[in-house]
Structure formats: structure tokens, C-alpha cells
């Protein structure tokens, strides 16, 4: 009898503990997704991001601590489109958490619902470099896609925590209004520079360029994921000069030497632009990511050489 009482008491405690844990535990692969999740979830969610904003999102280390992080998650939001294919699958497999398995309600693949650029037409093979068969996965750099991602978070949070569905929907409306307003401002600021030609290191800035009217003339990488070769660089420089390329854009984690050389050779400016929240200390959330990048570009284009 005593044993039964004890088991009942322990069971009660466990159930009680479970009920008290009301906050949704949200793990996102990139801090950008985390920033949006926080906007939608507010105080009802606890958000952790796996990758840091400074690192190459394709090559994050599959640290054992992430297994434990995912083990406790209610929601996992990944970018999808093969962005995290090199490191996320063994973490999810090791996490033994049914809530975040593929097709579980708590597993958000953010690229679903986003129209991806550069979806390859025809057969793909690796002689083309690291071409993602689903399309270019760096879509979060178009703020318009932020709204699609936010809608996915609101939908998932509302489903998993239906008591607060109205709260999440209200946050979504607020987020969208705020983003619309800011997007109008950024677009207005960038308007005079529409058509500016840029060279990037990797195809990371395609969505940003589409949104704000920059023209990506070429990449320093001869093929996606392949390091710049002297042949490619020396063919690129005269072409870029001819096209009047004004800016060379690179992510914070790229080596500086080759980009500097190219920028100097074509008389362009080298800008190190964060591609993720946390990419530098000024970029603290999804809004400041664009604040910073837009202001950097405008400052570079306005200042005399």
C-alpha cells in the first residue's frame, strides 16, 4: 500500500512538474530564425539557437551538447533546403525526441512556404559545386520572407499551445506591421541605389539583392563552395571593372585577402556584412540585421572614394 502511495505521489509530482513547464522550448538552427520566434512567442517561449551568427551555417559542429538541447525541445525550426544537411540529422537522430522528428508538429522547416531562388532546372551534379537541389537556402536575407517564417512560427505555436493562440496571432500581426513599416523605410533608403552592381563571395546575398534592387554581377567563388582560384579571379576583375561593380560583399567568416585584392583592383569598396543575427555586436535581432546592412551599403555608396 505504501509503495502504491509512493508511486502515486511521484507520478503526481512528475505530472505537476510537466504542467508547470508552460513555456514552449524552441530551438532554432540559426539565430535569425530564433529572433523571429522570439517576436512571435514573446514571454511564452524560451528560444535557443544552435549556430552563431558569425559562423558558416553550412558547417556547424554537431556538438554533443546540442543533442541534449534538442532532447528537451518542444519545437525545432530549421532552414531546410539542405542548409543544415551536414550537421543537423545526427543531432535530431540522437535527441530521441518524438516532438521534433520529421513531420512532427514541432518540427518546422522554414523553407516550406518560401519561393526559393535559383532552383536548378535540369539535372544537378557536384561538378557544378555545392548546388542545392532545392534552391538557394539563404532566403532569410529578404525581409519579406521574414513574414512567411513568422507565420509558420505563429501557426506552430498556436497549434502546440492553443490556449495562447490569440496572443501568437496578435504578435504575428504586430511583427508584420512593424516589418512592413521598416521594409518601406529600407526600400526607400535603397531606392536611389537601385541597379548598383555588386560582387559577392558566396551566393549568400541573392535574396537581399533581389529585395533591394542590387545586381549581383558575379561571385568570388568560381562555383558554390569552391574556393576562389587565381584564374577565376583574374577573369573576374576586368569583367567587374567593365560592368562598373561598386561593392564587394562578403560574410564575416570569409578570408579578407582575396576580397580586398579584388575590391582594390576594380575600384570597388569591400563590405563585410553579417548574414545572420549576431554576425557582429550591432546586429542583435532580425530588424537590426537589415538596419546595419542597409546603412553600411548606403554609407559606402554615398561617401567619396
Amino acid at each position: 500500500m505504501k509503495t502504491i502511495l509512493f508511486i502515486a505521489a511521484v507520478g503526481g509530482l512528475l505530472i505537476g512538474a510537466h504542467a508547470v513547464q508552460a513555456k514552449l522550448n524552441v530551438v532554432t538552427t540559426l539565430p535569425d530564425f530564433g529572433s523571429i520566434a522570439q517576436e512571435i512567442g514573446g514571454d511564452n517561449v524560451k528560444v535557443t539557437s544552435i549556430a552563431r551568427g558569425t559562423e558558416d551555417p553550412h558547417f556547424v559542429d554537431a556538438r554533443p551538447s546540442f543533442i541534449r538541447m534538442l532532447n528537451q525541445a518542444d519545437v525545432l525550426a530549421e532552414g531546410g533546403a539542405d542548409l543544415e544537411i551536414g550537421w543537423l540529422p545526427p543531432l535530431v537522430n540522437g535527441a530521441r525526441n518524438a516532438k521534433i522528428l520529421a513531420d512532427a508538429a514541432g518540427h518546422i522547416i522554414l523553407s516550406r512556404g518560401i519561393r526559393l531562388l535559383e532552383v536548378p532546372v535540369g539535372p544537378v551534379d557536384r561538378s557544378m559545386g555545392d548546388v542545392h537541389p532545392a534552391g538557394n537556402p539563404h532566403y532569410w536575407l529578404d525581409p519579406a520572407n521574414g513574414k512567411v517564417m513568422a507565420a509558420q512560427f505563429a501557426e506552430t505555436f498556436s497549434k502546440l499551445d492553443s490556449a495562447n493562440a490569440a496572443f501568437y496571432q496578435a504578435n504575428l500581426r504586430k511583427f508584420n506591421e512593424r516589418l512592413d513599416k521598416r521594409m518601406a523605410e529600407w526600400t526607400k533608403l535603397m531606392e536611389p541605389h537601385r541597379g548598383t552592381k555588386v560582387v559577392t563571395y558566396h551566393k549568400s546575398f541573392e535574396y537581399f539583392a533581389e529585395r533591394f534592387g542590387l545586381e549581383v554581377a558575379s561571385q568570388l567563388e568560381p562555383k558554390p563552395g569552391i574556393e576562389p582560384s587565381p584564374t577565376h579571379i583574374h577573369a573576374l576583375i576586368p569583367r567587374a571593372k567593365e560592368h562598373g561593380v561598386k561593392l564587394v560583399l562578403i560574410e564575416p567568416f570569409r578570408p579578407r585577402k582575396t576580397p580586398h585584392y579584388v575590391a582594390d583592383s576594380i575600384g570597388a569598396k569591400l563590405l563585410i556584412l553579417p548574414t545572420s543575427v549576431g554576425g557582429n555586436e550591432k546586429v542583435k535581432d532580425y530588424f537590426s540585421l537589415f538596419d546595419y546592412n542597409v546603412s553600411q551599403i548606403i554609407a559606402a555608396l554615398q561617401s567619396p572614394k
Partner: protein, 533 residues
């Protein structure tokens, strides 16, 4: 009685039914006629509908093709973006473009990546070329997939298949092909297992043929090694092909604030991939060759088979990991393997092996890494083996005479009689990998293995030449001290290929110094399984 009644009634019913039929023949024919008409009109309208559907399908295809072509057009793209923007604000996200259209037979079948497929398939080829000053390269290199001869070695051509079996299991198979030094193609079932995906209570079960979770190197496939060859301690204690066997494993992710996981594996204890256990031998391919002097100078004749659960191989492991800083990770582990061995004469009694191991992995990766570079990774493993060697009488044919090839006690001139004893061996390796720029890794590994001298190594033993003389034995070369230093340099053009140059300085007590140079190259086709930490 009841049965009879039943028959009577049912035959009566049948009769009456047939008489009814006869009466209603005209009505039936009328109905048939109507039915025929109805069928004909149905067929006609069906054909019409089919035609409509086909036309619609054709139009849909044409429109989709137009849209695809248009999506590359910037103007069209922007228009779509604007319409989508309006949608996003008010409703749920639209369905994925990729998924809105079902797969059609004309589409390419994709086997790489996470496309519409049921299996990830890849082929990894690992080759080596080089030379060594050693005349016994197969003895020098302890790993079954190490470069094993002057010239070229096909180390490991591995076919990997993996995927979700159903909502409950994940499956993986690794089939290895290689050429032995004689040029024969060998096939190994390296791994084939299924693993649960969502058991309750943080548990995970794996079953099938798999690498034992012993330390860091053992469960790693040759493709992911930082060096051309296997560490000496792994080759000696866990065998040329690593410790792997059919069995089951349960692991538990502990609810600690840091990562910590407990594994317990139960596997068969026999076969060539259970070297320190009920394996027939110790040398290459697990087959102890006749002319070779076996481990502990005695044959493995003491195989008792499986009588109870204690005759299986048990391997527990506990691993824990901390993030020291945002760019430094520490992983610690303790492993063990317990099981019977068959070393000694037929009635040598219960002979067991215990292997204990500790491992440490420390890794720094730059917070601004590009493609995973730069990084520094330090990995060290130490192992201790306690090995019961059963009593053994070399006079196997019972003639009491020192025959040629038998081990003989030089003092008595008679076939040696070895007593049972427990042998203690130690081994360690420590390796440092420095990825100094994207695609480039410099490595340095130090290997050391040794043992306590056994009683049998103190005896004045010789290998009889059958004429009263023979070669003295002394220290057991399978347990003697040796060390190796291996610097190397690897270039990864992409994560799907690599070229590695490695130099080995080997010092074997009782044999001497050797120098080896190996050039390794690798290609990987198909799906690239993500790397574990």
C-alpha cells in the same frame, strides 16, 4: 435431425427460386436492355470526361512550364513576390513550390540529399599508394584497411545505404569491398543495423551488425579517420577491422544539464571481428597463420561456445561533454568490453578478456570559421587489456617428441607446457589535427603499445627445427613494446574528396626501425552522411 431439416429447407428454397426466375424471364430481358443502354451512355460520358481531363492536364502543364520559364525573369519574379507579400500577411504560408507538384515519371530520380527518396546512397573509395622499409608491411600495419603493401592498396570501397525504415526505425548498411595483397576482392558486411527513433524515457535501441561503441576511433568508419591507418592500440586490442559483431545496444541520454550518455551493448563474442575474445587468431583477417607464432605462444583451442549469457560480449560506455567556451568543446568517455576468449588448450577452463578504455576529445573551432576551418582537434585514447591465456601443452599429437614447428622448452628438450596466466597490455595514442586554412589539415599522431612480461616470455622457449635445435622466442612480438610517430598533411578540395600524405616512423622492440610513406586519396559519390562530433 436438425441437419436434415436444413437440407430439406434449402433445396426447397432453391427450387422455388428457379421457378420464379422462369416466370420473370421477360422482365429480366427488359432490365438487361436498360442496363446495356445505361452502360453505353456511361462509357460515352466517361470517355468525354477523360478527354476533358487530358486537355486540362495538358493546359496545366503548359501553364506550369510558362511559369517556370517566367520565374527566371526578374520582372515576373518581383510581381510574384508582391502578391505573395499580401498573402503572407493575412494567411498561412503557401505550400512549398517543390511539393505542390507530384513526382512524374519524367522527373529525374534523385538519390542524393533529402529529395523525394527512400534511401540515401553513397559510394566512398579510399586508396593508398606508398612504400615502407619494412619487409613485413602486413605485420607492421595492424589495421585491416591500412595500406598493406608497396605500391597501391585498395583500402576501402564502401557502399553506404541509409534512411528511415518507417516512423519507428532508421536503418543503415555499410558494405565494404577491398582488395587483399594477393589481389582478391574481399567483401565485408561492416555494419547493418536498425535503430529506434522515438522510444520513451530517452532510450534508443540499435540491433544488427554494428561497431561497438568503444572509445572514439573504434566506431568511426575509415572515411572519417584523420590518418591513413588505424592506431596501434586499436589494431592490437580491438582487432584489424575494429570491434564489431552482431548484437543489440541500448543507450540512454541522461537528463543532466550537460550531455551525458550511457551505452550498453551485448554482442556475439566469436569471429574475426572480436579479436581479443573468441576469435581464432590475432593477425590479419583474423586468421592465425600456421607458420606464425600465435599470441601468448599458444593456440586458441579453448572455445567453449555459448552456454550462458556470460559467454557473450558486453560493452558498456559512458560519455559526457561540455562546451568549455562558445568555441571549445570537451568530450570525455570511459568504455569497457568483457567477454570470454579461447586462448589455450581445449580444457584450459574459463578464460576471459577485459578491456578498459578512456578517451578525451577537445576541439576548438573558430567562431568565424569558413567551411569548418580553422580548427584544432586533440584526441587521445588509452586502453588496458587483461587477457587470460589458458594452459597449453605443445605436445598436441601426444608423441612426447619435439616435432618441427612446435614450441619447445630448450632446457628439457621437450614440447613446452605453458601454465595459465593473465596477461596485461597497455596502449595509447594521441593525435592533433590542425585545420589551418579552408581544406587544409596538418596532423600529428603518436602511438604507443606495451605489456607486462608474461611468465611464458621468461621461459627458454625455442621453435623446434625438428633436429634438436631451433630459433629462440623470448618476447612475444604481438605484445612487445612498439611506438610510432605519424605526421601528415591532408588537402580536401571539397568535402567529397581528399588527398593525404603521411609519413610513419615505426620503432618495434625486437624488430627495429622502419620508415613508411603513404599517399592516400578518396572520393565520395552520392549522399554525404553528416559528420558526428
Amino acid at each position: 435431425m436438425k441437419l436434415k431439416n436444413f437440407w430439406a429447407w434449402s433445396s426447397a428454397l432453391c427450387l422455388s427460386a428457379s421457378s420464379l426466375q422462369a416466370q420473370e424471364t421477360t422482365e429480366v430481358e427488359q432490365l438487361k436492355k436498360q442496363l446495356k443502354q445505361a452502360t453505353e451512355s456511361f462509357d460515352k460520358s466517361l470517355q468525354e470526361h477523360r478527354k476533358t481531363i487530358e486537355d486540362l492536364n495538358k493546359r496545366l502543364d503548359a501553364v506550369q512550364k510558362q511559369q517556370q520559364a517566367a520565374s527566371t525573369n526578374q520582372e515576373q519574379w518581383k510581381r510574384m513576390m508582391e502578391t505573395r507579400l499580401g498573402d503572407a500577411a493575412t494567411s498561412a504560408p503557401p505550400a512549398t513550390v517543390m511539393e505542390s507538384r507530384p513526382w512524374r515519371p519524367t522527373d529525374p530520380i534523385r538519390l542524393a540529399g533529402r529529395g523525394p527518396n527512400y534511401i540515401n546512397l553513397s559510394l566512398d573509395g579510399l586508396f593508398a599508394a606508398g612504400t615502407s622499409t619494412a619487409n613485413d608491411i602486413e605485420e607492421l600495419q595492424l589495421g585491416g584497411h591500412d595500406p598493406s603493401q608497396r605500391g597501391f592498396t585498395v583500402q576501402n570501397v564502401e557502399l553506404v545505404l541509409d534512411g528511415a525504415v518507417d516512423p519507428y526505425f532508421r536503418g543503415q548498411g555499410n558494405i565494404v569491398f577491398f582488395l587483399d595483397p594477393e589481389g582478391e576482392t574481399q567483401v565485408e558486411l561492416e555494419e547493418a543495423y536498425l535503430e529506434t527513433m522515438s522510444l520513451p524515457a530517452n532510450l534508443q535501441v540499435r540491433g544488427g551488425q554494428y561497431f561497438t561503441e568503444f572509445g572514439r576511433h573504434n566506431p568511426t568508419h575509415p572515411h572519417a579517420w584523420g590518418f591513413v591507418d588505424a592506431p596501434l592500440v586499436n589494431g592490437r586490442f580491438l582487432g584489424p577491422d575494429g570491434l564489431r559483431n552482431p548484437g543489440a545496444r541500448i543507450s540512454w541520454l541522461a537528463p543532466t544539464p550537460f550531455y551525458s550518455e550511457l551505452f550498453l551493448a551485448v554482442q556475439n563474442s566469436q569471429g574475426e571481428t572480436a579479436t581479443s575474445f573468441r576469435s581464432a587468431g590475432h593477425s590479419h583477417g583474423g586468421e592465425e597463420e600456421e607458420e606464425e607464432i600465435p599470441l601468448a605462444f599458444r593456440h586458441a583451442d579453448n572455445d567453449r561456445g555459448i552456454d550462458d549469457i556470460g559467454d557473450l560480449l558486453f560493452s558498456p560506455r559512458y560519455a559526457l561533454s561540455f562546451d568549455l567556451t562558445s568555441s571549445q568543446v570537451l568530450l570525455l568517455g570511459a568504455s569497457a568490453a568483457f567477454g570470454p576468449n579461447s586462448r589455450g588448450g581445449e580444457d584450459a577452463g574459463s578464460t576471459d578478456t577485459q578491456i578498459y578504455g578512456v578517451d578525451l576529445t577537445w576541439k576548438w573551432k573558430s567562431p568565424r570559421h569558413q567551411g569548418g576551418f580553422p580548427f584544432v582537434a586533440w584526441q587521445t585514447e588509452g586502453m588496458l587489456r587483461k587477457y587470460d591465456a589458458g594452459a597449453f601443452d605443445w605436445d598436441e599429437n601426444g608423441n612426447g617428441v619435439a616435432d618441427e614447428g612446435e614450441v619447445v622448452n630448450a632446457t628439457t628438450g621437450l614440447p613446452a607446457v605453458l601454465g595459465g596466466e593473465t596477461l596485461t597490455d597497455y596502449g595509447v595514442y594521441s593525435q592533433l589535427l590542425y585545420g589551418f586554412r579552408k581544406g587544409w589539415v596538418a596532423g600529428l599522431r603518436w602511438d604507443y603499445v606495451t605489456s607486462d612480461r608474461g611468465d611464458y616470455e621468461r621461459l627458454p622457449l625455442i621453435v623446434s627445427d625438428g633436429a634438436g635445435g631451433g630459433d629462440p622466442l623470448g618476447r612475444d612480438l604481438m605484445r612487445a613494446q612498439r611506438w610510432r610517430l605519424s605526421p601528415n598533411l591532408t588537402w580536401y578540395p571539397t568535402e567529397f574528396s581528399k588527398i593525404r600524405l603521411q609519413y610513419n616512423y615505426d620503432k618495434r622492440n625486437g624488430i627495429g626501425d622502419d620508415h613508411s610513406v603513404w599517399l592516400q586519396f578518396e572520393f565520395l559519390l552520392g549522399a554525404h552522411a553528416a559528420h558526428k562530433f
